[in-house]
C-alpha cells in the first residue's frame, strides 16, 4: 500500500520568502506529525495532529511556523519569512490510533534557504 508522501522533495528559496510543504499520510492513520532534522542533529518535533483534537504545537520554533490538517488527512506546514536557520529536512509521519508509537515517515522535504 501507499506510504507517507511529501512534496516537494527539494525546495530552494530565498531568505524572506514563504514556503509550503505538503504531507499525505497513510490512509486511515489518525495521527500526523511534523519533525525536522537539521544538519548533524536528531529529529526535532514540531507539531502533532490527532484526530479532531486541537494540535500540539509545542515544538514549533517560532510564530513564523504554522501547520494545518484538512479533512483529517493532508497536512501543510507553512514557514513565513524564511531564515537561513530554517534550512533542514522536514519529515512528516503518521500513525494509527492502535499503534501510535510506531510512526511511519515520509521521505522528507529538503529545504534550503539562501
Amino acid at each position: 500500500g501507499a506510504g507517507v508522501s511529501q512534496s516537494p522533495s527539494n525546495k530552494v528559496t530565498e531568505k524572506g520568502k514563504d514556503v509550503e510543504l505538503r504531507c499525505d499520510p497513510i490512509s486511515g492513520h489518525t495521527a500526523l506529525y511534523w519533525y525536522r532534522q537539521s544538519l548533524g542533529q536528531g529529529l526535532e518535533f514540531l507539531i502533532y495532529f490527532q484526530g479532531n483534537s486541537a494540535p500540539d504545537k509545542s515544538g514549533l520554533p517560532s510564530d513564523r511556523f504554522s501547520a494545518e490538517r484538512t479533512g483529517g488527512s493532508v497536512s501543510t506546514l507553512t514557514i513565513q519569512r524564511t531564515q537561513q536557520e530554517d534550512s533542514a529536512v522536514y519529515l512528516c509521519a503518521s500513525s494509527s490510533q492502535q499503534a501510535s508509537y510506531e510512526q511511519y515517515f515520509g521521505p522528507g522535504t529538503r529545504l534550503t534557504v539562501t
Binding site: V4, A31, Q41, G42, L91, Y101, E102
Partner: protein, 114 residues
Amino acid sequence: DQQVKQNSPSLSVQEGRISILNCDYTNSMFDYFLWYKKYPAEGPTFLISISSIKDKNEDGRFTVFLNKSAKHLSLHIVPSQPGDSAVYFCAANDGGSTLGRLYFGRGTQLTVWP
C-alpha cells in the same frame, strides 16, 4: 536539552560480527523506546521497540535491551550484514499528554564492511 543521547556518531563493524548501538536517556517518564533506521534520502523506518515493563525484545537479528536503572538501552544486530549500513536513531515516548510524540537522539552511522 537533549533528553535522548546517542554518544557515538559512528560505528564500523565487519560483516558477520555483532553491532551494538547505545542510547542513554534522562527523562524517567519515558515508557516506550524505539529504534529507527534511516538510509540516505529516505525517511526513517521503524525497526524494533520495547516497553518499559520489559528488559529485552527480540526480532530476528535485532535485539533491544533496556536497563531502566541506568536509563540506558542498546540495539544488538547479529550477525551484521552490509545492508544494515545506515543511520540508527533511538527514540522515546513518555505516554503523557503528547501521546505519540517521539524524542530522538542524533543518530549513529553504522557501517558494516565485508
